[in-house]
């Protein structure tokens, strides 16, 4: 197998793992998943930043 062919295979496997597995199943955008709009996201972050432990 040529170097070029081997590299293309590595690139495709890597991108598949990153975008089709890791991104979808392990790395959701937390604020987008939990809240419907920017107002709710902002309010949530303000609560996080201003609440005293």
């Amino acid at each position: 197998m040529t170097v070029g062919k081997r590299l293309w295979i590595i690139i495709l496997i890597k991108l598949f793992i990153m975008f089709a597995i890791l991104r979808i199943f392990f790395f959701p955008d937390i604020l987008k998943v939990r809240f419907g709009n920017d107002r709710e996201r902002g309010d949530y972050v303000i609560e996080q930043l201003s609440k005293t432990r």
Binding site: V3, G4, R6, L7, W8, I10, I11, K14, L15, I17, M18, L22, R23, F26, F27, P28, D29, I30, L31, K32, D38, R41, G42, D43, V45, I46, E47, Q48, L49, S50, K51, T52
Partner: protein
């Protein structure tokens, strides 16, 4: 070993980010530097028309291709982590990160990726000059891509050119040019890309040294050493210059990091620069603040003061001055900053409360505070201190910062010397006889990576506990998610990146053994 790892969410999130960033940075500097070395070699080929130079260019282009193919897109993982593990931070930085990262995406995909296709597959399909232009554009595109992410990082070290919107809890960019041309960003960009250029030069010199020792590819090796050494030497000088500039900035924008990298606990007038030192702990001390002294020290008298302020007798604050405050030098105690930060946080909470209950008068009053320069300069600028429980939390890991900095600087000067020795060897045509120097160059390749990683440890660990200097500590930036999921993805990344690195080394070694055939 693993029993010592703090299993908390914050530490696992930090560990995961460090793991991915450090692996990503294994691939990036070689891409940055080798692209310029290849462009220089191809320029010589186009100008002289000698086929040997085309062969040399193609050989290094193959190694560049291996590194690029395996390393490409590893940085995207970091952006995944922003949204999942660091959602408070991602929201808080708002547009400041959005704009530079969007430009970086355009640069990477449209400039770099387009012309990289011509560079690899365009030989004999496009004219020599068009191909050469593509190679140069790949080189500039790679460095320009790095510019935007480094500008975003510099903003985290020295947040400028923005306004905090208390309605949305986001920072909004007021002045793009202030963000782009902040002195921290300029020095960081030059220092980081030139470190990549030096690393790539040492990579070329090291591999060529192996060829010379094996008495193979002698023409390729000597010509490549010439190009890489000259390029590396010029880059080394720029690296040292920008490093000095970075340190001068550091003392103003991140004085605690500056004190940590010098192991300076008690401020001094006429402070000496530590050339070599071994930090010692006093018996029974429980935290890094109480590390007392050096068990071994060689320092250059007064030079730290000069480096920081341009005056040999200037006062340089130490860790203790910065924590406890120092009236004589107008240093505010951290405990005072904590109170101011807490007031800023309470104002934000009150504003949201006023908005929620529809108290428009109170809301307008509190909202106006976030636009009042007095409130911004005396309270909001210490917003992050409001999260701290103990003033000692502002102290980073001093031994780690100190050793990482000194390893980086020491190796940087060693690299400069090595490149000079190679040029002398070439000039006198005695390189083949200098076996020790050739072996040293091979051994120096991993040292170049060590110095490069140490630089990022200084930058990122040295600024702890801040994600955004003085505004957001790491503990407040993290998402409230299950720590187990971060642990799972930590190990997934460890496996994925280790596999990629193994593939890189395996294919690279094989290709080097084959040579330029």
């Amino acid at each position: 070993m693993f029993e010592n790892i703090d299993p908390s969410l914050v530490n696992w999130s930090r560990g995961q980010f460090a793991l991915t960033a450090m692996y990503h940075w294994i691939f990036v500097p070689l891409t940055l530097g080798l692209s310029f070395i290849i462009a220089l070699m191809e320029t010589i080929y186009v100008r002289t028309g000698k086929e040997e130079w085309k062969k040399i260019t193609k050989f290094w282009m193959t190694l560049f291709g291996i590194n690029f193919a395996i390393g490409v897109a590893t940085g995207i993982i970091l952006e995944f982590e922003f949204g999942t593990n660091w959602s408070n931070y991602s929201w808080f930085v708002g547009d400041i990160f959005g704009a530079p990262l969007a430009i970086e995406g355009i640069m990477a995909f449209f400039l770099e990726s387009t012309f990289i296709a011509v560079m690899f597959f365009g030989w004999n399909k496009v004219s020599k000059k068009f191909h050469l232009t593509s190679t140069w554009l790949v080189a500039f595109g790679a460095s320009l891509s790095a510019l935007w992410i480094l500008v975003a990082n510099a903003w985290m070290q020295d947040p400028v050119g923005m306004h905090f919107n208390p309605d949305t809890a986001r920072n909004e960019m007021l002045d793009f040019w202030q963000v782009l041309f902040s002195p921290v960003a300029i020095h960081k960009f030059i220092h980081t890309i030139t470190s990549g250029y030096v690393l790539a030069s040492l990579f070329v010199v090291g591999i060529c040294s192996w060829y010379i020792l094996k008495k193979r590819e002698l023409f390729l090796a000597k010509r490549s050493i010439l190009v890489a050494s000259v390029f590396g030497l010029i880059s080394s000088l720029m690296l040292i210059y920008s490093g000095d500039g970075s340190a001068r900035q550091l003392v103003h924008v991140q004085p605690m990091k500056f004190a940590a990298i010098e192991g300076l606990y008690n401020g001094q007038t006429g402070a000496g620069l530590v050339a070599i030192g071994i930090i010692s702990s006093a018996p029974g001390d429980t935290n890094s603040r109480n590390v007392k002294d050096f068990s071994f020290l060689i320092e250059i008298p007064n030079f730290l003061s000069y480096m920081a302020y341009g005056e040999f007798d200037a006062f340089v604050p130490g860790v203790n001055d910065l924590v406890d405050g120092n009236l004589k030098y107008n240093l505010i105690p951290v405990s005072d900053k904590m109170e101011r930060g807490k007031l800023a946080r309470e104002t934000l909470a009150d504003l949201k409360s006023a908005r929620d209950r529809g108290d428009t008068a109170q809301y307008a009053l509190l909202n106006a505070r976030f636009r009042d320069p007095d409130f911004i300069n005396n309270f909001f600028r210490y917003f992050g201190y409001g999260f701290l429980d103990d003033p000692n939390q502002v102290i980073p890991n001093v031994p780690l910062a100190f050793y990482s900095f000194h390893i980086m600087v020491g190796l940087g000067f060693y690299f400069l010397l090595l490149l000079v020795l190679f040029l002398i060897g070439l000039y006198r045509n005695k390189l083949e006889n200098r076996k020790f120097l050739l072996r040293l160059a091979i051994f120096t390749i991993p040292l170049a990576y060590l110095a490069s990683q140490a630089g990022w440890i200084v930058a990122e660990m040295g600024r702890q506990p801040w994600v955004i200097q003085d505004l957001l500590p790491t503990m407040a930036a993290v998402s409230h998610i299950d720590a187990t999921s971060v642990q799972v993805t930590f190990w997934l990344f460890a496996v994925l990146f280790s596999a990629l690195l193994t593939a890189e080394l395996s294919i690279m070694f094989k290709q080097i053994k084959i040579g330029s055939k």
